[in-house]
Subunit: 181 residues, 4 copies
């Protein structure tokens, strides 16, 4: 009532809460009530700012995908030789899911949504395309593609495995897939 009546960061705060909830409870655990509580906004606020749960999830995950691409880009930015690019990619695999597995989980949830529902699939495809394009700055198209798949595959392994592969094993895989001889 006495608040500024227009808090421009409200949408933003809600989206952050959504991402936190996806990571903690899964996409299925994202409800209006829970999100509102977490973001500290009234329940009615949710459907005012977002059409429905789907818009909520989609927008939050889009923001997250952008963030991941940015990380990706930052990692690869400095590399000028193939050797440096390979090292950068290796670092990437070991960087992303370092936190509290939050990133891994978010990616997994997105894949799961994408496997079944169109808008999420589109987001996923767009994302894959962008990261492949980044790899293609340093590797030929076919190699970029293989490398992209490898990165994707190493991630769940690193996250679930009790005894995950160490950095040198990752590097070895990267070298082989990119055909370093």
């Amino acid at each position: 009532m006495a608040t500024g009546h227009t808090d421009p960061r409200r949408r933003e705060r809600i989206l952050t809460a959504v991402l936190d909830l996806i990571a903690e409870e899964g996409a299925a655990g994202v409800s209006h009530r829970r999100t509102a509580a977490r973001a500290g906004v009234p329940l009615g606020s949710m459907t005012y700012h977002f059409t429905g749960i789907d818009e909520l999830l989609l927008e939050a995950l889009t923001g997250y995908a952008d963030h991941v691409v940015a990380v990706f880009e930052r990692h690869l930015a400095g590399a000028t030789t193939p050797e440096e690019a390979r090292e950068a990619v290796t670092g990437l695999v070991h960087t992303l899911p370092e936190g509290p597995r939050r990133d891994l989980i978010l990616v997994q949830e997105l894949y799961t949504l994408a496997a079944r529902r169109e808008p999420y699939r589109a987001l996923c495809v767009h994302w894959m395309r962008r990261s492949r394009a980044l790899l293609e700055r340093h590797f030929p198209p076919d190699t970029a593609r293989r490398l992209d798949a490898l990165i994707e595959g190493l991630t769940p392994h690193r996250a679930l495995d009790d005894d995950p592969p160490d950095r040198s094993a990752t590097r070895e895989a990267v070298d082989r897939i990119t055909g370093a001889d």
Copy 2:
């Protein structure tokens, strides 16, 4: 004398229904009601045969993992040389998600559950270990590991991509990661 004095296939039928539901609606879409309706059993039957939703999901997914491992094994069974093994693995990647993406979805859902909740993680780890063991019959441990990750990574790509890599591209990736020279 025989215990299950009613339809012994009831559990089985319920588990099949659960798997169908996971594939169609996602793990979050599996409810007692829906499962009962789909399996054609009374609602009260659900909590009689299964402790709760988790037991339901876990048992269904365990059965599915067994099935996938069996497919895996069948594919690799005939291979006697590394060359044949590589060809078998290639066939595997192109076999699994060929159907109506059902398999991809189920795997994805399992990963998502595994990322957050213990019993699912254990199932997942056990599964990964078994498939790696199968690969180790034909490849050295480190190679098996890399190969396993690659397979995992190729799957979502093949499923989501509008223009998925063809068989020869897969074979090329397999050759490189297994160090065929």
Copy 3:
């Protein structure tokens, strides 16, 4: 918890509450919450016993239509001559909406629903057919039809008008429409 666990009159009580609510607040005013409160049953009970609001309304109104037909029949039962039948019909018009206009309102609400949604239309048509059949026991088909329409038309007039037509006016109209000469 300590209740008989199976109250067979519960459905019945709910339907009575629905009819009361339609009369008092209109069909649009029938909500699960209000109905539950009025019938003295828990909210969750509503969707257990009835699929949804529509089943609720439809079943309640079907019961009401049956009741009205029964009244109709009882009124006409004793008539053996056309003269007696005309008198009975006249009595009918002046009997039905005598109460607290409850009957009139219920009929009106049913018509309104019937004008837009199929299952209600079917109920309405079925009802009209039955009452016409009753009239046809005493009048030729065409006459029965005209008479039926007249009855329908007199009802809202009697209910809304500040100065509604008296019994002799009704009788006069009945006589004319049935061609008493």
Copy 4:
């Protein structure tokens, strides 16, 4: 100097939207949001131009009643003899609900509102009085009254019946109720 310094047709457009909504969704389906969307005006506009939902409905239905009376009048205008008047009334019954049942529905909705809430009742009574007055130009008061009721009763029959009475049947009923001999 001119007051409505913005679009003066806005009120008008809103009222048209309200009528459309009543016809399509029922009076209960008229909300500020839906009306605003349909009329293409901002949501805030609704409560600026109209006190609340009731004012909205009442004003829209008043306009509609005026329209119906005008049709009524136009139909009867040319008639100079009782015979012509009877033919005109017959035409009326077969004209009104000819379109997409829109008119029938609107009338029904108005009756339903009138049965329960005062301002709508007043509107209804006023309307009935006006149409009766029109009939009284051609028929004696008692006959006008009977005829009015008959018209009212024929309408739902014609609208709901699968096999509605044809024009000659209507004419026959009109003749009888007006005592043509």
